[in-house]
């Protein structure tokens, strides 16, 4: 059967080109891979190679012809034993030419289905608070890992100084002693490498808990966190789940300057395929880390160095977890909503006390989970208070406050009695000097002033 040779597309955007030159003449024998013609596009000259073997029976487009549309027949190839007569006999165009190439995409806009909400587990947290002990955030995080390692042999911990040194911030204290060096693994200083290795291990059915000494160093691992961990499930059509936890201290530390003092929350919040949590209390730190380890997706657990030593009441039941995706109202109030997460929750609560002294009752929402954000809890609160102040430590541009402002506008515009107010870190690299550092970070009085301004007071 004779075969039509078509004008090929040589790049995703090419629609037509010039048939610059025939490298074979009618009657020439061609083998797969032989260059038969040269084609020019606006970008380059390219060779057309034969795909099938045979004899070049007829050239349909003369060399030098401009504007030959992609998929136009340019020549006819005769197979073994055929003669040129077969062409005129109108032999059906063949194997090489699928009869009807469906036009790829690009027609009318397809029906757009609604994006489904992320399922949030329903857990009755309150019941676990019947039995509690006072614990630091540090110990609560340690217990979370230990309990999950006892529960599931596939869970292991790796990172710099997590084993013998007991953790750069002592969060992994005692784990090596209990679980041994095959499950508590000191890595070399190699963030890009061990983040990728963790992703591979998760593909291999393990459940890695990867500690970054601080999230500042995870910038070197960003490619694996986003491109490898977060996107592969989608790109594999659902085959390649990546059950991994990346955890460590995030946000401003004390007097360590710009490279060691930064809040990455909104960076990770941006990315589909990740879950992101940023707990404040020790109970939430424990419950969310346990939920993160059990979660079949990549979860970023943003801890805070300054909080590690603070104590809270923590449930003792090893079944206690906190659902990812649920905010918590940590102080009820009717006059103004204040959202915060991580260390800023403490500041927001202090601000609420100060406001109460002036007769303003603030409702403080601890977001706890950043992605998926609990929009319902925020919106409900705004419907009641009609005012909202968002507080974060990170930079203002494209920060969590920007997101919350947009969401409130989309979901509660008519309920607002004042514009949304954002409190964020100053738009500068973190300075070292004590006085400047203090100026760069949101303080209790900044939050108080913001809340008063949206209440049109003071």
């Amino acid at each position: 059967m004779s075969i039509q040779i078509l004008m090929p597309a040589l790049s995703p955007t090419m629609t037509e080109g010039k048939l610059a030159k025939w490298m074979k003449a009618e009657g020439d024998v061609v083998a797969p891979g032989d260059v038969i013609a040269e084609i020019e596009t606006d970008k380059a000259t390219m060779e057309v190679e034969a795909v099938d073997e045979g004899t070049l029976g007829r050239i349909l487009i003369a060399e030098g012809t401009e504007n030959v549309a992609v998929n136009t027949p340019i020549a006819i190839l005769l197979e073994d034993g055929e003669d040129a007569g077969a062409i005129d006999a109108g032999a059906a165009p063949a194997a090489a030419t699928p009869s009807e190439a469906p036009a790829p995409a690009a027609e009318a806009a397809p029906d757009r289905p609604a994006a489904p909400a992320v399922a949030v587990m329903d857990v009755d947290e309150e019941k676990f608070f019947a039995d509690t002990q006072t614990q630091t955030v540090r110990d609560a995080l340690r217990d979370a890992m230990a309990e999950e390692m006892r529960r599931d042999e596939m869970v292991y911990v790796m990172g710099e100084e997590v084993a013998e040194y007991q953790g750069a911030y002592k969060v992994t204290q005692g784990l090596l002693q209990e679980f041994g060096d095959s499950r508590v693994i000191d890595t070399p200083i190699t963030e890009h490498g061990f983040a990728g290795l963790g992703v591979g291990a998760a593909f291999g059915a393990l459940k890695p808990v990867v500690e970054f000494m601080t999230f500042n160093f995870a910038m070197q691992a960003m490619d694996h966190i986003i491109n490898s961990a977060a996107k592969t499930l989608y790109m594999s059509g659902g085959q390649m789940g990546c059950p991994i936890v990346f955890r460590g201290p995030n946000g401003a530390a004390s007097r360590v300057a710009a490279q060691h003092s930064q809040d990455y929350t909104s960076w990770y919040a941006h990315c589909p395929g990740l879950k992101v949590v940023a707990p404040w209390s020790a109970a939430d730190a424990k419950g969310l880390l346990k939920a993160a380890i059990r979660d079949p997706n990549p979860v970023i657990v943003l801890e805070n160095e300054v909080l590690y030593g603070q104590s809270f009441e923590v449930p003792t039941d090893p079944d206690f977890t906190v659902p990812i995706g649920k905010a918590k109202i940590v102080r009820a109030g009717a006059d103004v909503t204040i959202t915060a997460f991580s260390i800023m929750v403490g500041k927001a609560l202090e601000a609420a006390e100060a406001l109460a002294a002036e007769g303003i009752e603030a409702e403080v929402i601890d977001l706890r989970t950043i992605r998926p954000l609990d929009v319902a809890t925020i919106v409900e609160s705004v419907k009641k208070t009609n005012r909202i102040v968002s507080v974060e430590e990170g930079w203002p541009t494209c920060g969590m406050g920007s997101e919350i402002a947009a969401l409130v506008m989309e979901h509660a515009f008519d309920d607002l009695d004042a514009p949304v107010k954002r409190i964020a870190g100053e738009d500068v690299p973190m300075p070292y000097a004590a006085n400047l550092e203090k100026l760069a970070l949101p303080q209790v009085d900044t939050i108080v002033a913001a809340a008063k301004s949206v209440c049109y007071r003071g």
């Binding site: 078509l6 090929p8 597309a9 790049s11 995703p12 891979g33 260059v35 380059a44 000259t45 390219m46 057309v48 190679e49 795909v51 998929n71 090489a96 699928p98 190439a101 790829p104 995409a105 397809p110 029906d111 289905p113 994006a115 489904p116 095959s182 890595t187 070399p188 190699t190 890009h192 490498g193 061990f194 990728g196 290795l197 963790g198 992703v199 591979g200 291990a201 593909f203 291999g204 059915a205 393990l206 490619d223 694996h224 491109n227 490898s228 592969t232 499930l233 989608y234 790109m235 594999s236 059509g237 659902g238 085959q239 390649m240 059950p243 589909p272 879950k275 079949p296 997706n297 990812i324």
Partner: protein
Amino acid sequence: MARSASSATTKRLAARKAGRTTRAKKASGATKDELLQFYRDMLLIRRFEEKAGQMYGMGLIGGFCHLYIGQEAVVVGMQAAINEASTVVTSYRDHGHMLACGMEARGVMAELTGRIGGYSKGKGGSMHMFSREKNFFGGHGIVAAQVPIGTGLAFSHKYKKEKAVCLTYLGDGAANQGQVYESFNMAALWSLPCIYVIENNKYAMGTSVNRGAAGTSLAQRGEAYGIPGMEVDGMDVLAVKAAGEKAFAHATSGKGPYILEMKTYRYRGHSMSDPAKYRTKDEVNRMRQEHDPIDNVRARLAEAGVSDDDLKAMDRDVRAVVTEAADFAQSSPEPDPVELYTDILVDA
């Protein structure tokens, strides 16, 4: 100190050279059936890629499409050297690896056309395909990102006490990425069963190895970590298999990773839209005519008494598989719009 280190290096290199001669002897001892299987497997990749190139030309395949033509002996030989429990991971030049792993041509081709019948439901494309069933873990588009991932898969084999390796493929260009050395270090430190197969096809896009690498012996890149390396004729499937077996034995006996530098060549451009001005036609033709991995096996088969008709029959079989794959890839529907929002997170 430096002197003694370099003399140790020389000794190791000498040992490796000795290793090569042994392999050549063993290589000629392949059975006829084995040769026939290799021939068929390589031919399937060749014909598949030719068809993919053709379909790209017709606008049925979009985006980046990196063909494997010329390098077939590497994946076919390596796959024959490992066991079923082993895993495979590679870069975006991945069609050959998937076919060698036993993934179906139709599923791969349908992914190239972006259809629901593709291995990733049309959401991954040429560079991102996976099959847990066949232990193929991608298909990764970021140069060298698959190297720590493969090292992690090897870590999981060791953690689960499996007798298996992860075949981690990377290009000569990828071999210059920092994360490769982070991986080598961890793999050697923890004795992970990882075989790093560096497919040195002489070019990273338009950059030849000597323009991108200081010190062009990629087999030696693990030396500082104590990882043995071997240079292999990647155009000879039997040499590849013999080297693969040696590396497999090493890695599965608890001795840690192994590096194989496959000297190979890609006949086509880097991707479909590469005019390949950085090399001469002569160079390409010489490789094709004198070192083609498929011709090489065909000659051995002829010597072994396999008739031309038998080979032609096999060729027809392979063409039929590829034609069926191409038809499927065009008849399988585009993904339903609801797929836009699926597979972002696994339900907890």
